[in-house]
Symmetry: C2
Subunit: 300 residues, 2 copies
């Protein structure tokens, strides 16, 4: 019987889940609205019912990616965008329903492990994964292992301060990388330049037409991100850096200048040695693949 793993991605808006085979093939998948459930037990129950009814093989376990999820405790802790209370024992809820080993991690860490198990980071012992979306998430792999840190909350590259007294951040401080290098950050940059609101998608569409100010928004974003990546390289010296998410797709617009600024700021003996890669995983499935990889990684 084919061995399978459940990959579950709990987002602020939707929850995606699937049964996944060893090579990352999605055998069955579904999604529900996260916000339709006022309590998390009901959400877990619904996900598990659907998973049980559509089991395509011998299940090995469940991998769950969620914002502010802690690998060590198995809990969602103080998630600003979920209204389920301060500490949500997510792993416990899933294990009670499914009686299968469950591993929980935050979404950026799950993405890093997904890339490690199925994607471009296969076989790498040291790499950095950066997810560029509304915010900026990251996962650092060193010596073949994800760095969870002492309490499970390592990998907060988005909350390194790159501009003392810079922009206000949702974390309550100022000048975090995320306030510059993310969709939200780009929108702020565009607003500061133009005095009116643009979505990051609109800025990209305008930049593609060659409009100078929109290209400058990307250049400014890339400058901040490139320096932060160069500094991360000085600390962990990865084999490669992988960019993931909507913003990372705009290859010429963000990718090329980010690479340029990273190289400019690298220690000379690291220059031209660290490829900046895009994820090899299809964006729509990456979150559930990453979640399922939490379990597959334990089987390697």
């Amino acid at each position: 019987m084919k061995k399978v793993v459940a990959g579950i991605d709990i987002g602020g808006t939707n929850t995606l889940f699937a049964w996944v085979g060893e090579s990352g093939e999605i055998l069955w998948s579904s999604s529900i609205s996260t916000t339709a459930f006022t309590n998390v037990e009901a959400l877990v129950s619904e996900v598990c019912n659907q998973l049980k009814c559509n089991l395509p093989g011998e299940p090995l376990g469940l991998g769950v990616g969620a914002p502010s999820a802690n690998f060590y405790t198995g809990c969602i802790e103080h998630a600003p965008n979920l209204n389920w209370g301060d500490i949500v024992p997510l792993q416990q809820y899933f294990e009670d329903e499914m009686h299968l080993p469950t591993i929980v991690a935050n979404d950026a860490n799950a993405a890093a492990i997904g890339e490690h198990v199925y994607g471009v980071a296969k076989g790498m012992k040291d790499f950095i994964m950066v997810t560029l979306g509304t915010g900026l998430g990251s996962g650092f792999v060193a010596n073949g292992e994800l760095i969870y840190g002492h309490d499970g909350f390592a990998g907060e590259l988005g909350h390194t301060i790159i501009e003392p007294n810079g922009r206000y951040c949702g974390c309550g401080r100022k000048g975090c990388l995320e306030t510059y290098a993310s969709a939200t950050g780009m929108e702020q940059t565009a607003f500061e330049m133009r005095g009116e609101k643009f979505s990051s998608k609109e800025v990209a569409e305008i930049a593609v037409l060659g409009e100078k100010w929109a290209l400058e928004v990307f250049d400014f974003t890339a400058k901040k991100l490139g320096l932060a990546l160069a500094n991360s390289v000085a600390i962990t010296r990865p084999e490669a850096i992988i960019l993931f998410g909507g913003l990372a797709k705009s290859k010429e617009l963000l990718f090329v200048p980010t690479k340029k600024y990273m190289e400019e700021n690298l220690l000379h003996n690291f220059q031209d040695k660290i490829p900046l890669l895009t994820s090899a995983l299809p964006e729509s499935d990456a979150a559930i693949l990453g979640a399922s990889a939490l379990i597959w990684k334990t089987q390697l």
Copy 2:
């Protein structure tokens, strides 16, 4: 027969070496002038002769700390302060002389492992070691292992750029942390403030008397270091940070303000959780203890 390990620290000026027991007890030690040897083979030969003549037990191996030394290749690579050529196969030279397993690492990494095996980081799985001397070195331990990175040159916190277009650094770039948070950096700060030269020791002596400008030199240094430490915590979330070296000893002058600035810049959920510690190893022996720990660590 008591098991022993050789710890060897090759510095730009002196080379220290010792036979060390399992608990970090120094059973025999000696030193020679590094600069007295125009070729490295002669230096290695002399060190090994002395070690052989004074062997106090059953030797398990040799640990060697040296600037720009690479754990993976066993070579000193492009060391700016040693005139032995671009690539020095140090591990090979020692193994040829002693016929014992030899491990080579840069001095900051050896210091981190020394602290891990014998010092305040005993039992910790995640910590950051920062050595404050002429420059700023660092070693990051995550998941119980030192992060050497893809090519052995991880842990260059001193060469993260904290001030774009800031001070010129010996590495050929501008604004590295090391140009602010090190003895050399403090001397530069004092010179910029006063227009005359002071050694870092003199600045400390004047600061102890309560002189305002000298206290400001320490405050400025601590501000840069504290922010860089907070950003490092965001990435690796250590259990503790250990400061080592001459500057770290000036407890009230540098330690207290560094801690203050680190806390101010930490993500709120990391605040008041990450102790800033001083090394538990006697400074005079720390380098050889760190080097010997490279071998003891493999025996754990």
